[in-house]
């Protein structure tokens, strides 16, 4: 067993175990910290796939930004030591049934399908130079339009977030 394979199984075990803990933990702050572990392990999977830039984005933006935002909002809206009451049996049944049926059906479809890699495709090295050129490129493999749309969307989201939480004048 090489180190690659060991790391893959290790990271996926972390992802699955902590995802389960995220949705079952009855303390909210703990759920957020478990989500942090899931996100860090996911960025490890991206490193394993040789997408270093996206892994770094995942670490800084998700693990550094979103989780901190969520933890702050948890501190603003609830008491730390507060425990949730147990969800109703009906909800637990519906959730586990949708998990079991959905994953069984999707896994059956995916594993019975034969993915064939097209012949003659060369593996390109993913470096910053290439990413920058394609992200702001206009021609083939250029993504400048979605890039600009994302920037406008982010601006609008930030402005709307400020407007929504601003206190009204008495």
């Amino acid at each position: 067993m090489t180190f690659n394979i060991f790391m893959f199984y290790f990271l996926s075990a972390i992802i699955l175990i902590f995802s389960l803990l995220t949705i079952t933990s009855r303390k909210m702050l703990r759920a957020a910290v478990y989500l942090l572990f899931v996100l860090v392990a996911t960025s490890g999977l991206y490193f394993l796939l040789n997408y270093q830039f996206l892994a770094a984005v995942q670490l800084t933006l998700y693990a550094g930004g979103i989780v901190v935002l969520i933890i702050f909002s948890i501190l603003l809206t609830s008491h730390i030591s507060e425990k949730f009451k147990k969800p109703s049996v009906w909800k637990i049944w519906m959730g586990s049934l949708s998990f079991v049926f959905g994953s069984v059906i999707i896994l059956w479809v995916l594993l019975s399908h034969q993915f064939v890699k097209p012949e003659g495709l060369k593996d390109i090295p993913v470096n910053m130079h290439l990413i920058g050129n394609q992200l702001l490129g206009l021609g083939k493999n250029g993504y400048v339009l979605p890039f600009e749309l994302i920037s406008i969307l982010l601006l609008a989201a930030m402005v709307s977030a400020i407007v929504v939480v601003k206190k009204e004048k008495k």
Partner: protein, 105 residues
């Protein structure tokens, strides 16, 4: 390409993660924990995009860029959702999804 690991390994991990997110979305009552489940779902989708990109079409970067855009959209979505949750908490003093049934201004 990773030695000894096929695309199916990645697909199994991301599928289970996706449906754990959906189960959490149904089971949870608190709005913030529902948001955590949505983050799980989005991450599973990004893993799928990257695995397809790496194992089937390694000559282009389409999945990589879609993953990048999904991460950006997730940031925007989390910011707006948390702003809404804080506003709901101010008005109703609770963020349980079964108590928030009054959306009147």
């Amino acid at each position: 390409m990773i030695e000894g690991i096929s695309i199916y390994h990645f697909l199994v991990v991301s599928t289970i993660m996706f449906f754990l997110g959906i189960a959490g979305f149904i089971i949870r009552q608190n709005l913030i924990t529902i948001l955590l489940s949505i983050e799980l779902i989005l991450n599973a989708v990004v893993i799928n995009f990257l695995a397809f990109n790496k194992f089937l079409y390694p000559n282009e970067l389409q999945g990589h860029f879609f993953g990048l855009f999904i991460v950006g959209i997730a940031a925007a979505e989390a910011a707006v959702a948390i702003a809404l949750i804080i506003n709901v908490y101010r008005r109703l003093k609770s963020i349980d999804s079964d108590k928030v049934n009054e959306m009147k201004y």
